[in-house]
């Protein structure tokens, strides 16, 4: 390697952008893995189109992958990229607006053909017309160089060209002094069956690296040191993988088999794929004919004593609504996972949103209470799955867990836990009986109000359950007016009473004062970063994160009362805000973004500043 100036940076954000067919998701993932293995903290944001493969070169077909890697704790994939890699004009067009002035812009100049420029609606070639003069533009004839580099393998030109994403990756690796070995190993594993393809990709990767070194395109290269994470063994993990692992771990902790009933839907399908691969843990996956069959089978499996889970996204939850009422009425444990996406209706299926909170808490016919939890980060999906299952089994109730598209596909370094660190999940089936006494399936623990889990196959516990109102003791059908009111209130009390099992809300920053920023779900990262930065600037904001949306933690009202203002940033029109107002009768401020994209740290900082300044002005 030739001599280059090396500068040290705290953190860097890179965005790879190209055509759907250009392999940007793969390029991003490879960079992520390398950064993670080197010990950086990372956060990623893959952003791809809804079409499997939109026409090559079109704006609709642009696929992006952003990663922030850092030598300190980070919580988001970065607001704006420091480096943008644009594989074609369309990718440039779509992404350039996010690159700050002076940012590094790497383009594949071979792709700036007339045809591609037209597809990207460029009137003139931006590489030539001076419009990019505000950036550190690095033009690389990637296609040509790649084709030349892989010539020796003898692969066809078309296949050769496809290797250019590894060339681009090589360039970026050089810029940040990253080793190539993990990527080479990955390529060898992946293309084991096709050695010439593996060879071509490796050659392209190396060529990119060497090209950057040799022709000294970069005056300076950058180093991002290891982050100081808590000690432990780490891996990189996205939210869907974490959710699947959480489900499996819950099964292991409970010592009971998992049943996962699902119908494919973006962005939840990967949970099904992941679980289907782990039948060695006794996991039974069932791809149903539709969402109704998925939840129906899951209720049936739960009735049979399995740890039943049904995963989907918003429109799928809509279809499961009626059956969730049955789970409430029969009081069977069931975990429902909703990986939220942009709505309403089919909406923006590959984009993220948090607009299914109302549906989760209130969206059923009748008085039909269901506990609701939400995951804060990709890795937290693991813990939320376990906690959801713990509560479902303990309280004999369906529990709904919310994730979203951003968590599902975003990755972060994740400290691999030891099994012993995980909460216990105690499964107690009702015991067989031979005393001939009648079994009372709705007789319950007077304190927790939990009814017994009596599974078919158990001697002497034969009984009937169903969706009609039940007698409070025998479980027989009852149309008695007083019994109905009693049962409606009992079901509500049981869920409300779970508050005992829910940790108090903790606040970071000032424990009382002017402004609390309260988040839920995937806004956690942006809120933490924003709050920390504000506090670093001596702006006294507090922040907290709600993991339990129903019931709320016991101290929530008290916590809110300690702040003059409470701001809830959420990717909807103010759903948590309304729930809080209904409960605590105090005004809550909202910061609402419904663009299919996560919050930027700056957006939250700006809003917090504006609120505090307004106060100063007003006061």
């Amino acid at each position: 390697m030739s001599e280059h100036k090396v500068a040290e940076l705290d953190s860097v954000t890179i965005r790879f952008a190209g055509d759907s067919g250009d392999g940007m998701q793969l390029t991003g993932s490879r960079f992520t893995d390398t950064a993670a293995l080197v010990g950086n903290d990372i956060a990623t944001f893959p952003d791809y189109p809804a079409e499997i493969r939109a026409p090559a070169g079109s704006l609709a077909g642009v696929s992006g992958f952003q990663i922030q890697f850092s030598s300190h704790d980070i919580h988001t994939p970065g607001d704006r990229p420091d480096v943008l890699v644009a594989m074609n004009p369309a990718a440039l067009k779509v992404n350039l607006k996010d690159l700050p002035e002076g940012g590094i812009l790497v383009v594949n100049e071979n792709s700036f053909t007339k045809g591609n420029l037209r597809l990207a609606h460029y009137e003139s070639n931006p590489l030539e017309d001076g419009s990019l003069s505000g950036y550190r533009l690095i033009r690389v004839p990637m296609t040509d160089l790649t084709v030349k580099a892989v010539e020796e393998t003898g692969v066809q030109r078309k296949l050769a060209e496809r290797c250019k994403n590894f060339f681009a990756l090589g360039v970026v690796f050089f810029l940040f002094e990253r080793p190539l070995d993990t990527t080479i190993k990955w390529i060898e594993d992946k293309f084991g069956g096709k050695p010439e393809i593996a060879q071509a990709n490796i050659l392209a990767l190396k060529a990119g690296f060497n090209f950057a070194d040799t022709i000294e395109v970069f005056q300076t290269i950058y180093e991002v040191k290891k982050a100081k994470l808590p000690a432990g063994t780490y891996r990189s993990l996205n939210g869907n993988e974490a959710m699947a692992l959480g489900v499996i771990a819950a099964g292991v902790k409970a010592g009971r088999p998992i049943f996962y009933g699902s119908y494919p839907i973006t962005p939840a399908s990967d949970i099904l794929h992941e679980l289907a691969r782990h039948k060695d843990f006794g996991v039974k996956t069932f791809q149903a004919e539709d969402e109704i069959a998925a939840v129906g089978a899951s209720i049936g499996a739960s009735y049979g004593g399995a740890l039943a889970v049904t995963g989907t996204s918003g429109p799928g939850v809509a279809l499961k609504t009626e059956a969730l009422g049955l789970a409430v009425m029969t009081e069977l444990p069931l975990l429902i996972i909703n990986v939220q996406r942009g709505g309403p209706s089919t909406g923006l299926p590959t984009k993220t949103e948090q607009a299914d909170l109302f549906q989760a808490v209130l969206g059923r016919n009748g008085e039909s209470p269901i506990p609701v939890l939400a995951a804060a980060t990709p890795g937290d999906c693991f813990y939320v799955a376990i906690e959801g299952m713990r509560l479902a089994v303990k309280y004999m109730t369906p529990v709904l867990v919310l994730s979203d598209g951003y968590l599902a596909n975003g990755a972060e370094p994740w400290r691999v836990p030891d099994l012993s660190e995980l909460p216990e999940i105690e499964v107690k089936y009702a015991e067989p009986r031979d005393d001939g006494e009648e079994f009372k399936p709705y007789d319950r623990d007077p304190e927790t109000l939990i009814r017994p889990w009596a599974i078919p196959g158990t001697r002497g516990l034969e009984h009937h359950i169903g969706g009609l109102e039940k007698d409070k003791l025998t479980g027989n059908v009852s149309y008695d007016p007083d019994n109905h009111e009693y049962m409606v209130k009992l079901r509500a009390r049981k869920v409300a009473g779970m508050v005992r099992d829910i940790p108090d809300l903790e606040v970071s920053g000032p424990q009382e004062g002017e402004l609390l920023i309260l988040g839920w779900g995937s806004t956690a990262g942006a809120i933490i970063s924003a709050s920390e930065r504000l506090r670093a600037q001596k702006i006294p904001v507090a922040n907290a994160h709600l993991r339990y949306l129903n019931p709320f933690p016991a101290n929530l009202g008290e916590v809110l009362g300690r702040y003059e203002k409470v701001l809830v940033p959420e990717m909807n029109l103010g759903q948590l805000r309304k729930l809080l107002q209904a409960e605590f009768l105090r005004p809550i401020l909202g910061l609402n973004k419904v663009k299919g994209q996560p919050f930027k740290v700056e957006e939250i900082m700006d809003q917090a500043r504006a609120i505090l300044e307004q106060r100063t002005v007003a006061g």
């Binding site: 290891k226 000690a231 692992l245 049943f259 039948k279 996991v283 004919e289 691999v416 078919p456 969706g467």
Partner: protein, 340 residues
């Protein structure tokens, strides 16, 4: 269904009657079906606790309450989904689905289709009264074209589904039909379906005395039954009539009703029934009164991979691989790094 452990308990019919008051209309055909099911259960040899009745919503779907076994009264149209999950979770159970023509074929049509082709070892009984009973008399998907009901005051304009045919087309592995009032035949069918490995589907013509009385009277009434129904028997010629003087023949793909001894027709011309032949089953399922006698009995009885067994085989295979079930390895994944 025969995978449940058959223990030598000596149960009687009474052991299967629950303490719940039976709430069907007096004279409803459901009573006789309930009675036969309760009668047959002890003969199957399952311990009571291994038997589960699952239903949707409808008059028929109240059935589970009256059985002293495990029972799950589900929601409308979804009984097969509940049964599917239960059977997958615990293949050892004897699972019975009770459904109606509305519950099973209208709102539940999709699960019917997929439930049958998956071939879980469950038993499905469809009480076909050709009407919506519980909601007080609208037409159902099995109601005759032109039928006047509350929701079709000028007559329905929908071509009905024929449940047996639909089940055969959906590739059920055991398909049968019986009549509520024909106690002996019904009992026989119940036993046969229970013993079948894989999904079994039984249609029972059931009289709704309130909203569709005498729907099957024309051919199922005791005194005309022999002439107007035909009892399918595997390997036997398709003969019927009080003196078995009638028979069915096949001309290409067209069935004919013939009288033995007339027009030179002899016993040997009569078609021999083959319950292993889905094409024959399908053809017979098309026959309707008054053009033909109405077939009852076992239409189809074949074998195919059983879903929950195949799933278990995959689990066993997965478990046999080196490193299988190692949760720590799974959590760590292939690439880790260490921070100290």
């Amino acid at each position: 269904m025969n995978t449940a452990t058959a223990t030598p308990t000596k149960l009687t019919r009474k052991d299967f009657a629950s303490d719940q008051e039976v709430r069907w209309c007096p004279g409803c055909g459901n009573y006789s079906i309930l009675s036969q099911v309760q009668k047959v259960m002890p003969e199957l040899g399952y311990p009571k606790e291994d038997i589960v009745f699952i239903s949707g919503i409808g008059c028929s779907s109240r059935f589970p309450y009256y059985m002293a076994t495990y029972g799950f009264h589900g929601i409308h149209g979804r009984a097969i989904t509940l049964a599917t999950g239960l059977k997958i979770a615990n293949p050892n159970l004897s699972v019975w689905v009770i459904t109606g023509d509305g519950d099973g074929l209208s709102i539940g049509g999709n699960h019917f289709l997929h439930g049958l082709r998956r071939n879980l070892d469950i038993n499905i009984i469809l009480f076909n009264n050709r009407i919506y009973g519980l909601t007080k008399g609208q037409y159902s998907p099995t109601s005759e074209f032109g039928k006047r009901t509350k929701s079709s005051p000028q007559g329905t304009i929908e071509h009905p589904i024929r449940p047996v045919r639909a089940a055969i087309a959906a590739e059920a592995t055991w398909v049968g039909r019986s009549v509520d009032a024909d106690a002996k035949h019904l009992a026989k069918m119940l036993k046969l379906m229970a013993r079948h490995d894989g999904v079994s589907f039984l249609e029972v013509f059931q009289n709704c005395i309130i909203f569709n009385d005498k729907a099957f009277e024309a051919f199922a009434a005791k005194k005309v039954r022999d002439e107007r129904m035909i009892y399918l028997e595997d390997g036997e010629p398709l003969r019927f009539g009080k003196d078995r003087e009638w028979g069915l023949t096949l001309d290409g793909l067209t069935p004919h009703k013939v009288r033995i001894g007339e027009n030179g027709v002899t016993e040997d011309d009569i078609l021999v029934y083959d319950a292993k032949n889905p094409s024959m089953a399908y053809l017979l399922a098309n026959l309707e009164y008054p053009e033909f006698p109405v077939p009852v009995g076992v239409f189809l009885d074949v074998q195919r991979d059983i879903y929950e067994q195949s799933l278990q085989a995959q689990i066993d295979e997965a478990k046999s691989k080196p490193g299988a079930g190692d949760i720590n390895a799974l959590l760590a994944g292939p690439n880790t790094w260490t921070v100290d």
